[in-house]
Protein backbone atom coordinates (compact mmCIF):
# COMPACT_ATOMS: atom_id res chain seq x y z
CA UNK A 1 0.00 0.00 0.00
CA UNK A 2 1.09 3.62 -0.42
CA UNK A 3 0.07 6.54 1.77
CA UNK A 4 -0.05 9.89 0.01
CA UNK A 5 -0.09 13.32 1.59
CA UNK A 6 -1.76 14.07 4.88
CA UNK A 7 -4.42 12.13 6.76
CA UNK A 8 -7.59 13.45 8.36
CA UNK A 9 -6.76 15.07 11.73
CA UNK A 10 -9.92 13.57 13.25
CA UNK A 11 -11.63 10.18 13.01
CA UNK A 12 -15.31 11.01 12.89
CA UNK A 13 -15.78 12.01 9.27
CA UNK A 14 -18.94 13.23 7.56
CA UNK A 15 -20.07 12.56 3.99
CA UNK A 16 -22.82 13.72 1.67
CA UNK A 17 -24.09 12.76 -1.77
CA UNK A 18 -24.55 16.03 -3.72
CA UNK A 19 -26.12 14.66 -6.96
CA UNK A 20 -29.79 13.84 -7.34
CA UNK A 21 -30.64 10.53 -9.07
CA UNK A 22 -27.14 10.13 -10.47
CA UNK A 23 -27.06 8.31 -13.81
CA UNK A 24 -30.80 7.84 -13.44
CA UNK A 25 -30.32 5.60 -10.40
CA UNK A 26 -32.49 5.69 -7.31
CA UNK A 27 -30.86 8.14 -4.93
CA UNK A 28 -31.64 5.98 -1.91
CA UNK A 29 -30.03 2.98 -3.56
CA UNK A 30 -26.93 5.01 -4.38
CA UNK A 31 -26.68 6.29 -0.80
CA UNK A 32 -26.93 2.71 0.48
CA UNK A 33 -24.06 1.56 -1.74
CA UNK A 34 -21.91 4.52 -0.70
CA UNK A 35 -22.65 3.90 2.95
CA UNK A 36 -21.67 0.24 2.61
CA UNK A 37 -18.44 1.22 0.88
CA UNK A 38 -17.53 3.62 3.70
CA UNK A 39 -18.47 1.00 6.26
CA UNK A 40 -15.87 -1.30 4.75
CA UNK A 41 -13.16 1.13 5.94
CA UNK A 42 -14.92 1.87 9.23
CA UNK A 43 -15.03 -1.80 10.18
CA UNK A 44 -11.27 -2.05 9.76
CA UNK A 45 -10.15 1.16 11.51
CA UNK A 46 -11.07 3.71 14.18
CA UNK A 47 -12.85 5.79 11.59
CA UNK A 48 -16.56 6.56 11.75
CA UNK A 49 -18.66 8.05 8.95
CA UNK A 50 -21.80 10.04 9.41
CA UNK A 51 -24.01 11.06 6.53
CA UNK A 52 -25.22 14.69 6.60
CA UNK A 53 -27.08 16.71 4.02
CA UNK A 54 -24.64 19.58 3.67
CA UNK A 55 -21.93 20.74 1.28
CA UNK A 56 -19.72 21.23 4.32
CA UNK A 57 -19.24 17.49 4.80
CA UNK A 58 -15.67 16.17 4.74
CA UNK A 59 -16.34 13.83 1.80
CA UNK A 60 -18.63 15.28 -0.88
CA UNK A 61 -19.73 12.86 -3.60
CA UNK A 62 -20.72 14.02 -7.06
CA UNK A 63 -21.64 12.42 -10.36
CA UNK A 64 -20.23 14.46 -13.26
CA UNK A 65 -19.71 14.06 -16.95
CA UNK A 66 -16.82 15.20 -19.17
CA UNK A 67 -15.18 18.46 -18.12
CA UNK A 68 -16.52 19.39 -14.69
CA UNK A 69 -14.23 22.14 -13.50
CA UNK A 70 -11.47 20.32 -11.69
CA UNK A 71 -8.98 19.76 -14.45
CA UNK A 72 -9.64 15.99 -14.56
CA UNK A 73 -12.33 15.60 -17.21
CA UNK A 74 -14.16 12.28 -17.52
CA UNK A 75 -14.13 10.35 -20.76
CA UNK A 76 -17.66 8.98 -21.12
CA UNK A 77 -18.43 5.25 -20.77
CA UNK A 78 -15.41 3.01 -20.17
CA UNK A 79 -11.79 3.52 -19.06
CA UNK A 80 -11.84 6.29 -16.43
CA UNK A 81 -14.64 5.47 -13.96
CA UNK A 82 -14.07 7.94 -11.12
CA UNK A 83 -11.45 9.86 -9.19
CA UNK A 84 -11.10 11.27 -5.67
CA UNK A 85 -9.00 13.85 -3.84
CA UNK A 86 -6.68 13.07 -0.95
CA UNK A 87 -7.51 14.45 2.51
CA UNK A 88 -7.37 18.23 2.86
CA UNK A 89 -9.42 21.39 2.81
CA UNK A 90 -11.92 22.39 0.12
CA UNK A 91 -11.95 19.62 -2.43
CA UNK A 92 -9.86 17.36 -0.23
CA UNK A 93 -11.60 14.00 0.31
CA UNK A 94 -14.23 14.56 -2.40
CA UNK A 95 -15.05 11.73 -4.80
CA UNK A 96 -16.33 12.21 -8.36
CA UNK A 97 -17.95 9.47 -10.43
CA UNK A 98 -18.38 9.46 -14.21
CA UNK A 99 -22.11 9.90 -14.71
CA UNK A 100 -21.94 8.25 -18.13
CA UNK A 101 -20.92 4.84 -16.78
CA UNK A 102 -23.51 2.09 -16.38
CA UNK A 103 -23.49 1.90 -12.61
CA UNK A 104 -24.96 -1.18 -10.92
CA UNK A 105 -26.30 -1.25 -7.39
CA UNK A 106 -26.40 -4.18 -4.95
CA UNK A 107 -27.16 -7.64 -6.47
CA UNK A 108 -27.63 -6.16 -9.92
CA UNK A 109 -25.48 -8.20 -12.21
CA UNK A 110 -24.84 -6.70 -15.54
CA UNK A 111 -21.87 -7.78 -17.61
CA UNK A 112 -21.48 -4.33 -18.99
CA UNK A 113 -22.22 -2.54 -15.74
CA UNK A 114 -19.76 -1.33 -13.14
CA UNK A 115 -20.37 -1.98 -9.47
CA UNK A 116 -20.83 1.34 -7.71
CA UNK A 117 -19.96 -0.29 -4.40
CA UNK A 118 -16.63 -1.60 -5.71
CA UNK A 119 -15.57 1.68 -7.28
CA UNK A 120 -16.79 3.77 -4.34
CA UNK A 121 -14.86 1.58 -1.88
CA UNK A 122 -11.70 2.16 -3.95
CA UNK A 123 -12.23 5.96 -4.31
CA UNK A 124 -12.92 6.35 -0.58
CA UNK A 125 -9.50 4.76 -0.03
CA UNK A 126 -8.07 7.84 -1.79
CA UNK A 127 -10.36 10.13 0.22
CA UNK A 128 -8.76 8.66 3.35
CA UNK A 129 -5.15 9.02 2.10
CA UNK A 130 -4.28 5.78 0.32
CA UNK A 131 -2.73 5.87 -3.15
CA UNK A 132 -2.78 3.04 -5.67
CA UNK A 133 -1.31 -0.33 -4.83
CA UNK A 134 0.28 -2.74 -7.30
CA UNK A 135 -0.90 -5.73 -5.27
CA UNK A 136 -3.35 -7.54 -7.50
CA UNK A 137 -6.56 -8.19 -5.67
CA UNK A 138 -6.00 -5.22 -3.36
CA UNK A 139 -8.90 -2.78 -3.21
CA UNK A 140 -6.47 0.02 -4.08
CA UNK A 141 -5.33 -1.74 -7.24
CA UNK A 142 -6.10 0.88 -9.92
CA UNK A 143 -7.92 -1.35 -12.42
CA UNK A 144 -11.54 -2.31 -11.86
CA UNK A 145 -11.95 -5.84 -10.50
CA UNK A 146 -15.55 -5.94 -9.35
CA UNK A 147 -16.17 -7.27 -5.87
CA UNK A 148 -17.90 -10.33 -4.49
CA UNK A 149 -20.85 -9.93 -2.11
CA UNK A 150 -19.91 -9.96 1.63
CA UNK A 151 -16.63 -8.57 0.54
CA UNK A 152 -13.97 -8.04 3.22
CA UNK A 153 -11.06 -5.60 2.98
CA UNK A 154 -7.91 -7.36 1.72
CA UNK A 155 -4.85 -7.45 3.99
CA UNK A 156 -2.83 -4.94 1.96
CA UNK A 157 -5.51 -2.28 2.31
CA UNK A 158 -6.19 -3.15 5.95
CA UNK A 159 -2.52 -2.57 6.83
CA UNK A 160 -2.64 0.77 5.03
CA UNK A 161 -5.75 2.11 6.72
CA UNK A 162 -4.73 0.87 10.15
CA UNK A 163 -1.30 2.44 9.82
CA UNK A 164 -3.03 5.80 9.33
CA UNK A 165 -6.05 5.59 11.59
CA UNK A 166 -5.39 2.66 13.91
CA UNK A 167 -7.15 -0.66 14.21
CA UNK A 168 -10.77 -0.58 15.35
CA UNK A 169 -11.33 -0.50 19.13
CA UNK A 170 -11.53 -3.87 20.75
CA UNK A 171 -11.17 -5.50 17.49
CA UNK A 172 -8.77 -8.36 17.33
CA UNK A 173 -5.62 -7.61 15.44
CA UNK A 174 -6.07 -8.19 11.81
CA UNK A 175 -9.29 -10.07 12.36
CA UNK A 176 -7.37 -13.10 13.48
CA UNK A 177 -9.78 -14.75 15.87
CA UNK A 178 -8.25 -14.99 19.28
CA UNK A 179 -5.15 -13.15 18.15
CA UNK A 180 -3.31 -10.65 20.34
CA UNK A 181 -4.72 -7.16 20.76
CA UNK A 182 -3.01 -4.68 18.50
CA UNK A 183 -0.24 -2.71 20.12
CA UNK A 184 -1.08 0.96 20.60
CA UNK A 185 -0.20 2.56 17.28
CA UNK A 186 2.25 5.39 17.65
CA UNK A 187 1.16 8.29 15.46
CA UNK A 188 2.91 8.05 12.08
CA UNK A 189 5.94 10.36 11.80
CA UNK A 190 5.15 13.66 10.08
CA UNK A 191 6.16 13.65 6.42
CA UNK A 192 9.72 14.85 6.14
CA UNK A 193 10.42 17.40 3.51
CA UNK A 194 13.85 18.43 2.46
CA UNK A 195 14.07 22.07 1.68
CA UNK A 196 16.85 23.63 -0.30
CA UNK A 197 17.02 27.35 -0.12
CA UNK A 198 18.61 29.39 -2.83
CA UNK A 199 18.91 33.08 -2.34
CA UNK A 200 18.89 35.30 -5.33
CA UNK A 201 19.61 38.95 -4.83
CA UNK A 202 18.13 41.38 -7.27
CA UNK A 203 19.61 44.67 -8.24
CA UNK A 204 17.30 47.05 -6.45
CA UNK A 205 15.45 49.51 -8.68
CA UNK A 206 16.71 53.02 -8.43
CA UNK A 207 13.95 55.53 -8.13
CA UNK A 208 14.73 58.89 -9.48
CA UNK A 209 14.38 61.68 -6.97
CA UNK A 210 11.00 63.20 -7.44
CA UNK A 211 11.05 66.27 -9.63
CA UNK A 212 8.34 68.61 -10.67
CA UNK A 213 6.20 66.71 -13.05
CA UNK A 214 6.16 68.63 -16.12
CA UNK A 215 7.52 66.77 -19.01
CA UNK A 216 5.68 65.68 -22.07
CA UNK A 217 3.66 62.57 -21.75
CA UNK A 218 4.66 61.14 -25.07
CA UNK A 219 5.90 58.00 -23.47
CA UNK A 220 9.50 58.42 -24.28
CA UNK A 221 11.85 58.17 -21.32
CA UNK A 222 13.70 61.33 -20.50
CA UNK A 223 17.34 61.36 -19.65
CA UNK A 224 18.04 62.81 -16.20
CA UNK A 225 19.26 66.37 -16.27
CA UNK A 226 17.33 67.28 -19.35
CA UNK A 227 14.18 68.24 -17.57
CA UNK A 228 13.13 71.84 -17.78
CA UNK A 229 13.97 73.31 -14.44
CA UNK A 230 11.30 75.83 -13.67
CA UNK A 231 7.86 76.44 -15.02
CA UNK A 232 7.00 79.94 -15.87
CA UNK A 233 4.70 81.15 -13.11
CA UNK A 234 4.76 84.86 -13.79
CA UNK A 235 1.40 86.53 -13.14
CA UNK A 236 -0.19 88.28 -16.06
CA UNK A 237 0.38 91.95 -16.56
CA UNK A 238 -2.75 93.94 -17.46
CA UNK A 239 -2.65 94.97 -21.09
CA UNK A 240 -1.46 98.54 -21.64
CA UNK A 241 -4.60 99.70 -23.37
CA UNK A 242 -6.67 98.59 -20.55
CA UNK A 243 -5.12 100.51 -17.74
CA UNK A 244 -7.48 102.98 -16.32
CA UNK A 245 -7.22 105.17 -13.23
CA UNK A 246 -10.44 104.97 -11.42
CA UNK A 247 -11.32 107.90 -9.32
CA UNK A 248 -12.25 105.64 -6.59
CA UNK A 249 -10.29 102.65 -6.09
CA UNK A 250 -11.59 99.47 -4.81
CA UNK A 251 -9.02 96.90 -4.38
CA UNK A 252 -9.75 93.30 -4.52
CA UNK A 253 -6.80 91.07 -4.45
CA UNK A 254 -7.06 87.84 -6.25
CA UNK A 255 -4.02 85.87 -6.95
CA UNK A 256 -4.05 83.49 -9.82
CA UNK A 257 -0.94 81.48 -10.48
CA UNK A 258 -1.31 79.89 -13.80
CA UNK A 259 1.65 78.15 -15.35
CA UNK A 260 2.29 78.86 -18.92
CA UNK A 261 2.17 75.45 -20.58
CA UNK A 262 5.29 74.75 -22.55
CA UNK A 263 4.14 71.33 -23.77
CA UNK A 264 1.03 70.12 -25.46
CA UNK A 265 -0.11 68.14 -22.41
CA UNK A 266 0.38 69.04 -18.83
CA UNK A 267 0.02 65.93 -16.67
CA UNK A 268 -0.59 66.16 -12.89
CA UNK A 269 -0.26 63.12 -10.63
CA UNK A 270 -3.61 61.69 -9.52
CA UNK A 271 -4.64 63.16 -6.25
CA UNK A 272 -7.47 60.65 -5.54
CA UNK A 273 -7.57 58.48 -2.47
CA UNK A 274 -7.86 55.29 -4.51
CA UNK A 275 -4.30 55.61 -5.75
CA UNK A 276 -2.57 52.34 -4.74
CA UNK A 277 0.50 52.44 -2.56
CA UNK A 278 3.20 50.82 -4.70
CA UNK A 279 5.03 49.60 -1.61
CA UNK A 280 2.07 47.87 -0.09
CA UNK A 281 -0.20 46.33 -2.69
CA UNK A 282 -1.01 43.19 -4.64
CA UNK A 283 -1.30 43.43 -8.41
CA UNK A 284 -4.30 42.81 -10.68
CA UNK A 285 -2.18 42.12 -13.72
CA UNK A 286 1.38 42.45 -14.94
CA UNK A 287 2.66 42.22 -18.47
CA UNK A 288 5.51 43.16 -20.74
CA UNK A 289 4.28 45.57 -23.43
CA UNK A 290 6.77 46.95 -25.93
CA UNK A 291 9.59 45.60 -23.77
CA UNK A 292 8.43 47.56 -20.71
CA UNK A 293 6.81 46.10 -17.62
CA UNK A 294 3.27 47.32 -16.98
CA UNK A 295 1.79 46.65 -13.55
CA UNK A 296 -1.95 47.14 -13.12
CA UNK A 297 -3.80 47.76 -9.91
CA UNK A 298 -7.36 49.07 -9.69
CA UNK A 299 -7.77 51.97 -12.09
CA UNK A 300 -4.06 52.63 -12.24
CA UNK A 301 -0.90 51.29 -13.79
CA UNK A 302 2.82 51.63 -13.27
CA UNK A 303 5.31 51.59 -16.10
CA UNK A 304 8.74 50.17 -15.43
CA UNK A 305 11.62 50.65 -17.86
CA UNK A 306 15.30 49.87 -17.64
CA UNK A 307 15.85 52.76 -15.30
CA UNK A 308 13.04 51.79 -12.97
CA UNK A 309 9.53 53.17 -12.59
CA UNK A 310 8.78 56.09 -14.85
CA UNK A 311 8.14 59.36 -13.19
CA UNK A 312 4.57 60.32 -12.59
CA UNK A 313 3.20 56.81 -12.25
CA UNK A 314 0.83 55.35 -11.20
CA UNK A 315 -1.29 56.82 -13.92
CA UNK A 316 -4.89 56.02 -14.70
CA UNK A 317 -5.19 53.15 -17.14
CA UNK A 318 -7.66 55.20 -19.15
CA UNK A 319 -4.91 57.72 -19.93
CA UNK A 320 -3.12 55.15 -22.05
CA UNK A 321 -5.86 52.80 -23.16
CA UNK A 322 -9.33 54.06 -24.03
CA UNK A 323 -11.21 51.54 -22.00
CA UNK A 324 -14.82 52.38 -21.10
CA UNK A 325 -14.87 54.81 -18.18
CA UNK A 326 -16.92 52.35 -16.16
CA UNK A 327 -13.92 50.00 -15.97
CA UNK A 328 -12.25 50.25 -12.58
CA UNK A 329 -9.85 47.30 -12.79
CA UNK A 330 -8.40 44.74 -15.17
CA UNK A 331 -8.00 41.00 -14.45
CA UNK A 332 -5.19 40.11 -16.83
CA UNK A 333 -3.20 41.66 -19.67
CA UNK A 334 -0.81 40.22 -22.24
CA UNK A 335 0.81 41.28 -25.49
CA UNK A 336 0.09 38.91 -28.33
CA UNK A 337 2.82 37.74 -30.71
CA UNK A 338 1.26 40.13 -33.28
CA UNK A 339 1.88 42.98 -30.76
CA UNK A 340 -1.84 43.53 -30.12
CA UNK A 341 -2.57 43.99 -26.41
CA UNK A 342 -5.33 41.95 -24.80
CA UNK A 343 -7.13 43.02 -21.64
CA UNK A 344 -9.27 40.51 -19.73
CA UNK A 345 -11.95 42.15 -17.62
CA UNK A 346 -14.61 39.93 -16.05
CA UNK A 347 -16.22 37.71 -18.65
CA UNK A 348 -15.03 39.83 -21.59
CA UNK A 349 -11.81 40.63 -23.34
CA UNK A 350 -10.63 43.73 -25.22
CA UNK A 351 -8.01 43.84 -27.96
CA UNK A 352 -5.97 47.00 -28.49
CA UNK A 353 -3.80 47.99 -31.36
CA UNK A 354 -1.33 50.11 -29.37
CA UNK A 355 -3.61 52.56 -27.52
CA UNK A 356 -6.68 52.00 -29.66
CA UNK A 357 -9.45 49.56 -29.02
CA UNK A 358 -10.08 47.36 -32.05
CA UNK A 359 -13.61 47.58 -33.48
CA UNK A 360 -16.02 44.90 -32.36
CA UNK A 361 -14.62 44.62 -28.84
CA UNK A 362 -15.18 43.71 -26.07
CA UNK A 363 -16.12 40.10 -26.82
CA UNK A 364 -17.14 37.32 -24.40
CA UNK A 365 -14.53 34.85 -23.21
CA UNK A 366 -16.51 32.05 -24.87
CA UNK A 367 -15.27 33.36 -28.21
CA UNK A 368 -11.88 32.04 -27.20
CA UNK A 369 -13.31 28.63 -26.34
CA UNK A 370 -13.41 29.27 -22.61
CA UNK A 371 -16.37 27.88 -20.68
CA UNK A 372 -19.44 30.10 -20.25
CA UNK A 373 -19.30 29.53 -16.51
CA UNK A 374 -15.86 31.15 -16.25
CA UNK A 375 -16.07 34.34 -14.20
CA UNK A 376 -12.64 35.82 -14.99
CA UNK A 377 -9.12 35.20 -16.10
CA UNK A 378 -6.51 35.48 -13.32
CA UNK A 379 -3.46 35.68 -15.53
CA UNK A 380 -2.33 35.41 -19.15
CA UNK A 381 1.09 35.07 -20.67
CA UNK A 382 2.99 33.92 -23.71
CA UNK A 383 5.29 31.33 -22.21
CA UNK A 384 8.76 31.71 -23.72
CA UNK A 385 9.47 28.10 -22.92
CA UNK A 386 7.35 26.90 -25.83
CA UNK A 387 5.99 30.12 -27.31
CA UNK A 388 2.46 29.08 -26.39
CA UNK A 389 -0.15 31.34 -24.79
CA UNK A 390 -1.61 30.32 -21.42
CA UNK A 391 -4.69 31.54 -19.58
CA UNK A 392 -5.00 30.86 -15.83
CA UNK A 393 -8.17 30.92 -13.77
CA UNK A 394 -8.90 29.44 -10.32
CA UNK A 395 -7.52 25.93 -10.16
CA UNK A 396 -7.21 25.48 -13.92
CA UNK A 397 -5.30 26.70 -16.90
CA UNK A 398 -5.83 26.59 -20.67
CA UNK A 399 -3.39 26.61 -23.53
CA UNK A 400 -4.51 28.91 -26.32
CA UNK A 401 -3.77 28.50 -30.03
CA UNK A 402 -3.20 32.01 -31.39
CA UNK A 403 -3.39 30.77 -34.98
CA UNK A 404 -7.00 29.61 -34.65
CA UNK A 405 -7.89 31.97 -31.81
CA UNK A 406 -9.27 29.13 -29.71
CA UNK A 407 -8.17 27.12 -26.70
CA UNK A 408 -6.52 23.79 -27.49
CA UNK A 409 -8.23 20.42 -27.00
CA UNK A 410 -7.33 18.50 -23.85
CA UNK A 411 -7.59 21.67 -21.78
CA UNK A 412 -8.24 22.90 -19.09
CA UNK A 413 -5.78 21.15 -16.86
CA UNK A 414 -5.11 21.40 -13.15
CA UNK A 415 -2.93 24.19 -11.79
CA UNK A 416 -0.91 21.61 -9.87
CA UNK A 417 1.00 21.18 -13.12
CA UNK A 418 2.71 24.44 -12.13
CA UNK A 419 3.83 22.98 -8.82
CA UNK A 420 4.01 25.28 -5.86
CA UNK A 421 2.00 28.14 -7.33
CA UNK A 422 -1.38 27.10 -5.97
CA UNK A 423 -4.77 28.29 -7.22
CA UNK A 424 -6.26 31.71 -7.88
CA UNK A 425 -3.07 33.56 -8.87
CA UNK A 426 -3.18 37.36 -9.28
CA UNK A 427 -0.83 37.72 -12.22
CA UNK A 428 1.82 35.95 -14.25
CA UNK A 429 4.33 37.16 -16.77
CA UNK A 430 7.68 36.38 -18.31
CA UNK A 431 10.35 39.00 -17.72
CA UNK A 432 13.05 39.92 -20.20
CA UNK A 433 15.47 37.55 -18.44
CA UNK A 434 13.31 34.75 -19.81
CA UNK A 435 12.12 33.71 -16.38
CA UNK A 436 8.48 33.25 -15.44
CA UNK A 437 7.04 34.93 -12.37
CA UNK A 438 3.73 34.13 -10.68
CA UNK A 439 2.20 36.77 -8.38
CA UNK A 440 -0.25 36.23 -5.58
CA UNK A 441 -1.07 38.71 -2.81
CA UNK A 442 1.92 40.92 -2.06
CA UNK A 443 4.48 38.31 -3.07
CA UNK A 444 5.71 36.41 -6.06
CA UNK A 445 7.47 33.16 -7.03
CA UNK A 446 10.16 32.74 -9.61
CA UNK A 447 9.24 29.62 -11.59
CA UNK A 448 11.66 26.94 -12.81
CA UNK A 449 10.27 26.21 -16.30
CA UNK A 450 12.25 23.04 -16.80
CA UNK A 451 11.34 21.42 -13.53
CA UNK A 452 7.82 22.89 -13.68
CA UNK A 453 7.90 24.02 -10.09
CA UNK A 454 8.60 27.19 -8.15
CA UNK A 455 12.30 27.87 -7.71
CA UNK A 456 11.81 28.46 -3.96
CA UNK A 457 8.84 27.43 -1.87
CA UNK A 458 8.52 30.72 0.01
CA UNK A 459 7.25 33.75 -1.84
CA UNK A 460 9.37 36.89 -2.09
CA UNK A 461 7.81 40.26 -1.42
CA UNK A 462 7.02 42.03 -4.70
CA UNK A 463 7.46 45.65 -3.63
CA UNK A 464 11.24 45.66 -3.00
CA UNK A 465 11.99 43.82 -6.23
CA UNK A 466 9.52 45.26 -8.70
CA UNK A 467 8.69 48.66 -7.25
CA UNK A 468 12.02 49.56 -5.77
CA UNK A 469 10.62 50.02 -2.24
Amino acid sequence: FTIHGQQWPYRNLTWSLRSEQPSGLDTGGVRLELSKALDLWARNSKLTFQEINSDRADILIYFHRGYHGDGYPFDGKGQILAHAFFPGKDRGGDAHFDEEEIWTLEDESNEEGTSLFAVAAHEFGHSLGLAHSSVQGALMYPWYQGLSPNYELPEDDRHGIQQMYGAPEGKLWGNIPGGPLPPEQPPPPPPTTTTTTTTTTYRPWRTRPTRPNHYPDDGRPRQPGRYPQKPDYRPHKPHRHHTTWPATTTTTTTTTMRPTPRFRHRWTPPQRDDVPDKCDTSYDAISIIRREVFVFKGRYLWRIGDQGIYEGYPAEISRLFNLPSSINHVDAVYERPDKKIVFFIGREYYVFDANNLEPGYPKPLTYLGLPAALQKIDGAMVWGHNGKTYFFSGSMYWRFDETVNYVELDYPRDMSMFAGVGNDIDAVFQWKNGKTYFFKGKGFWEFDDLRMRVAHEKQKLSAPVWMGC
Partner: protein, 88 residues
Protein backbone atom coordinates in the same frame (compact mmCIF):
# COMPACT_ATOMS: atom_id res chain seq x y z
CA UNK B 1 12.30 -10.23 -35.69
CA UNK B 2 9.19 -8.13 -35.16
CA UNK B 3 9.71 -4.43 -35.60
CA UNK B 4 10.09 -2.69 -32.24
CA UNK B 5 6.65 -1.50 -31.17
CA UNK B 6 8.20 1.34 -29.21
CA UNK B 7 8.77 3.12 -32.46
CA UNK B 8 5.04 2.90 -33.00
CA UNK B 9 4.09 4.27 -29.55
CA UNK B 10 1.57 6.86 -30.67
CA UNK B 11 0.13 9.82 -28.83
CA UNK B 12 -2.58 7.73 -27.19
CA UNK B 13 -0.01 5.49 -25.55
CA UNK B 14 2.15 8.36 -24.44
CA UNK B 15 -0.85 10.31 -23.17
CA UNK B 16 -1.94 7.23 -21.18
CA UNK B 17 1.55 6.88 -19.68
CA UNK B 18 1.57 10.58 -18.76
CA UNK B 19 -1.99 10.66 -17.47
CA UNK B 20 -1.46 7.76 -15.10
CA UNK B 21 1.95 8.85 -13.88
CA UNK B 22 4.37 6.63 -15.82
CA UNK B 23 5.84 9.54 -17.72
CA UNK B 24 6.31 13.01 -16.27
CA UNK B 25 3.01 14.83 -16.58
CA UNK B 26 4.95 18.05 -17.10
CA UNK B 27 5.75 16.81 -20.56
CA UNK B 28 2.23 17.91 -21.47
CA UNK B 29 3.58 21.46 -21.27
CA UNK B 30 7.29 21.31 -21.70
CA UNK B 31 6.91 19.13 -24.78
CA UNK B 32 10.18 17.49 -23.86
CA UNK B 33 10.99 14.76 -26.30
CA UNK B 34 11.26 11.28 -24.86
CA UNK B 35 14.11 8.90 -25.42
CA UNK B 36 13.51 5.32 -26.46
CA UNK B 37 14.75 4.23 -23.03
CA UNK B 38 12.30 6.46 -21.23
CA UNK B 39 9.37 5.09 -23.18
CA UNK B 40 10.51 1.53 -22.63
CA UNK B 41 11.01 2.12 -18.90
CA UNK B 42 7.58 3.69 -18.63
CA UNK B 43 5.93 0.70 -20.28
CA UNK B 44 7.82 -1.70 -18.06
CA UNK B 45 6.66 0.22 -14.99
CA UNK B 46 3.08 0.03 -16.21
CA UNK B 47 3.36 -3.73 -16.83
CA UNK B 48 4.96 -4.25 -13.43
CA UNK B 49 2.29 -2.23 -11.63
CA UNK B 50 -0.46 -3.93 -13.56
CA UNK B 51 0.87 -7.37 -12.76
CA UNK B 52 1.34 -8.53 -16.36
CA UNK B 53 4.47 -9.86 -18.07
CA UNK B 54 7.16 -7.21 -18.21
CA UNK B 55 8.35 -6.95 -21.79
CA UNK B 56 8.82 -3.26 -22.39
CA UNK B 57 6.71 -3.73 -25.46
CA UNK B 58 3.20 -2.59 -26.26
CA UNK B 59 2.03 -6.19 -26.60
CA UNK B 60 -1.52 -7.52 -26.51
CA UNK B 61 -1.67 -7.84 -22.73
CA UNK B 62 -0.52 -4.24 -22.38
CA UNK B 63 -3.06 -3.02 -24.90
CA UNK B 64 -5.77 -4.87 -23.00
CA UNK B 65 -4.64 -3.33 -19.70
CA UNK B 66 -4.68 0.13 -21.23
CA UNK B 67 -8.27 -0.36 -22.35
CA UNK B 68 -9.49 -1.74 -19.03
CA UNK B 69 -11.76 0.27 -16.78
CA UNK B 70 -9.87 2.00 -14.00
CA UNK B 71 -9.57 4.88 -11.53
CA UNK B 72 -8.66 8.28 -12.92
CA UNK B 73 -5.87 8.97 -10.41
CA UNK B 74 -2.25 8.44 -11.46
CA UNK B 75 -0.53 5.30 -10.18
CA UNK B 76 2.83 6.94 -9.65
CA UNK B 77 2.25 10.24 -7.90
CA UNK B 78 5.80 11.56 -8.12
CA UNK B 79 6.43 10.82 -11.75
CA UNK B 80 6.70 14.53 -12.21
CA UNK B 81 10.35 14.23 -11.48
CA UNK B 82 10.81 10.94 -13.31
CA UNK B 83 12.95 12.70 -15.85
CA UNK B 84 15.23 13.98 -13.17
CA UNK B 85 15.52 10.45 -11.83
CA UNK B 86 16.54 9.31 -15.24
CA UNK B 87 19.20 11.93 -15.32
CA UNK B 88 20.64 10.73 -12.07
Amino acid sequence: APVSSIIYADDKVQNYLMRFGYLPQTDFETGNLRTEDQLRDAIKNLQKFGGIRVTGEIDEATKKLMKARRCGLPDQLDARFARTRHKR
